[in-house]
Symmetry: D2
């Protein structure tokens, strides 16, 4: 999944698109940065899983009640050999009725599945008919509705993530084990941990399928960015105009131009602004201010930073 995200981030570092907050177009960004955000979230989740594996898991051997009494004099030695045999760390104490390790393992899997669910949700939203900026290569077609490009990998990821979470929540909330072995809390862990691992793995595996060969429509991204006649650039205009005009007059100028542009199809915010009161910007300066490509901030540098981290951690060949 990380490799797929990195490839998308690299390939699309200059692909402009709309960033969306509360599902409304907000400001420009690049698809490269969006994919880099996915990448970093995946690297973080992976790092947490590695950490849980390397530091969190530990062998458990203690006999009926954690005293190692059944092994006679050599209890601690047996426990150490047992851990070595399994390639697991040796815990300070037998931990049969202290279940934080199980909860943390499932928690790390839950976070990884949750990270996958965020990416899958983004893909499914980008794949909407009305948005059309991405499509899963293996997108399922309905037999009776062949026009559809169902984001089936994303859907499966979202489903698996809910199931991984339900089981992780059971394990996280189930540390209340009575004395040296619980009647119930312990036995509930077995299917829950299995399900947690299975659905967590399923979430990531499905996402890999969804991202493999993801079809990204850069032209449609640009169309959507332009679809509001320049309105997506108002944040930048605000930042430029407020120091000159003050907050009140800036707001009035923008509101009136936005209303004019919204009222009639084809009217650009640019023209509505030029038809309004003097802004202290030349036409060229206004055109430059309204160019989305000029307002992606540190997107490129951030993509670079994400790709370097990916290369450093997973040898992405950079």
């Amino acid at each position: 999944v990380a490799a797929a995200c990195a490839a998308l981030a690299e390939r699309h570092r200059e692909t402009l698109m709309a960033a969306r907050t509360l599902l409304q177009q907000a400001v420009p960004t690049t698809f490269g940065l969006k994919a880099a955000g996915w990448l970093v979230a995946v690297l973080d989740a992976r790092s947490r899983l590695v950490d849980v594996r390397d530091r969190g898991l530990a062998a458990q051997l203690g006999g009926a009640a954690g005293t190692l009494a059944g092994f006679g004099e050599r209890g601690p030695e047996v426990a150490a050999l047992f851990a070595a045999e399994l390639g697991l760390a040796q815990p300070t104490l037998p931990w049969h009725s202290h279940r934080a390790r199980i909860a943390e393992l499932a928690g790390a899997v839950d976070v990884a599945a949750g990270v996958a669910s965020k990416i899958a949700l983004d893909v499914a939203l980008l794949a909407q008919t009305e948005v059309g900026e991405a499509a899963e290569a293996a997108g399922g077609r309905s037999s009776t509705m062949p026009q559809k490009r169902n984001p089936v990998g994303s859907a499966l990821t979202l489903a698996c993530a809910r199931l991984a979470h339900a089981n992780a929540a059971l394990l996280g909330g189930g540390l209340d084990h009575e004395h040296e072995r619980s009647p119930g809390a312990w036995q509930a862990e077995w299917p829950a941990l299995t399900a947690s691992l299975a659905y967590g793995g399923g979430a990531l595996a499905s996402l890999r399928g969804a991202l493999a060969g993801l079809e990204v429509d850069a032209a449609r991204m640009r169309e959507n960015l332009d679809a509001t006649s320049g309105a997506i650039m108002t944040e930048r205009l605000s930042f430029l105009l407020v120091p000159v005009l003050g907050r009140e007059r800036t707001k009035a100028a923008l509101d009136s131009a936005l209303a004019a542009a919204a009222a009639a199809p084809g009217v650009q915010l640019r023209d509505a602004l030029l038809a309004g009161p003097e802004l202290g910007l030349s036409e060229d300066e206004l055109d430059a201010a309204l160019d989305p490509a000029g307002y992606t901030g540190a997107a490129d540098a951030l993509v670079e930073r994400a790709l370097r981290r990916h290369a450093a951690e997973l040898g992405g060949g950079r």
Copy 2:
């Protein structure tokens, strides 16, 4: 809480008691080992919290959509200064819509509260009228039932842990944030994170109250250990006899002696065994085999290990 557990572990490293599995007396242990188990669980949870604080938290500054565009050329520099000002790590990328950090923080709090709930449950069970092995010093008395020693600190810990968990589960299952800012998933985090921290802290604070001056009744522990007329030693007898008598004859001998001891009050397993078929053990050997003090395995060494770790990590003055 760790200090209270360590003090109990130290003071009671030779205090014999019954270990209980599925709420049945199983084999002997020491209260020192039980408290050492609590201690290690608390140290583990603390270590995880420290790790989340030091490695997991990171400053978040990205502007409307994570591009830092609003800060002009100096976006990354501003973000770095912002992180330094807050004393937080600088993340690879702005992470506004990638919420694993929030989930992991709440998850670590949830685990800490869960560890507290396990200890509190043990205390409440030990404090039962019929068990009577421990009592909270500040145990609440009911106004109309002054004989009661309610484990009020433990009860509050158990209540807080359930509440911390419910809020952590919301956060752990809520990573599915749409695009660059979610309508709903994000806003739900605010009260949930606050509640998670409040109830998590409450669970531990209440537990500190419950453990402070916990009254441990070593004599009652011994009485309970002896209450089954020696039956708690059958595991050890099994391990001794099976090599000599074989599995079948051992089982028959033990079952018949256990039945005899259970049938009449006052009949000790020892006497029932001596009245049965030859076991190949002298009376002295049998008495030694039936002494709980001789069957605590590595309990003492394990307590030592836990106390050393406590001293190393928290400077417990060892």
Copy 3:
């Protein structure tokens, strides 16, 4: 909320729009039917809440342990008077440690909040910049991004529903109360029930705000319906053609026409079909088959059914 849904269903019973499955345009529907679906879900949730109030809640009075012993001979009589005083049903037995009533109340609130979250999610999705079919009248504008019409009521509903759910889940999973009063499980209920009611109410109250004066853009709905050049009608075409051409030939004809229409902007599915192999349909028949208004099935009758139920249950003046 029900009244707002009913008004939308009535007003838009002939407003055509695209139905979306897996976030892909699937077949035509009406916004009236969509709103009628919301309405029925709200009526069902309301009916469940009324049922829980009328049948589920019952007075609880039992003394320390449910025997009513503290009231002497007149215990049952006192309990009956107590219930009457509170206007609550009298339970078969005091129920202090049997908490299903609390779980069911929170469960019904959770379902009501969940129903609200489904409606809010639909509104937020319809309000997306690229979809533009609905906007909250009081949609929040960002100070620096005045072009946005943030679905703030929907966002708050979605946030509240997550919080109502977290607390309901605690209550639903917390029936394991020890003996006659639990140390912990009971005390955890107090803030959880309060939060459940508060956030449940908040979810519905916010949704009422989101739906009040919801701006529905019927023209944009039609545009979106037409945006795929007729592809949304393929299910109907399939159903018409398969009996004549067989499954294979129908699939081939549709796939080839869909590909042609997708390849060039402006090419309608209609024309691509007419340019292909003979379908056994006249041009007029094809035009009729491709008219979304002719493929809304029972939408109108279903809206009527929902409105009648609303009038019957809540006196909607029909």
Copy 4:
């Protein structure tokens, strides 16, 4: 399960035992009343399940988007016949993306499993070695610890209830389905509903096993009741003495007598009270006041009420 509870309630309506609050002995009750409490909780849960089955479930048929368009003119008629064929109610509207029914079904199963978990927890607590008031007939013996009577049915019930709850929580929190079919939320329901039903059924089936032939030790119940030398009667003494001596003097007298009785084994509260200041009660009156059998309040009447309800609802042959 109801039948087993009813049989226990009937058989033990005069079996005295200690009621326990916060796991402390509080006042006397009868095991009959305890079992009647279980019975009523089970009857309530059953009634809710029947209600969900009869009123909550409804056939779902709507085509791709709930318009029934694929069925032509006869959509509603087909839907009605479909419901009749399945023996399910006909819903107001197709409900494919409105999932309250699924949540309510799983919620009712969750409550039933939760009721079972409360009973199982009571059984496991009663079966503790130090309490010894009940034992499962099929209680599992450990191979190496044959003295144990593990409450294996109760443990399995408790485990299943946690698993049923985790899956019900997923379904209860998963009503946020996008438009006419959700990518993810819908697919997550399938294994969750299956698991909910399986574990819910498992919880009750295991409990039936635990209660079948439950061995109740009435003598041990009496011993435990007497183990505090009369202290369990202090609530009754308070209620008797306060009107005569006032609150302060009553408290002082009881505290001092409780301390004396606790200080030396064998000293009864009765004798400590008689050795203290005048209480205005004759020795006979005091003995009567201290008789647990005289302070079970309405226990018998309440058992009768529960049994009558059982007979009325399930034909228990009364």
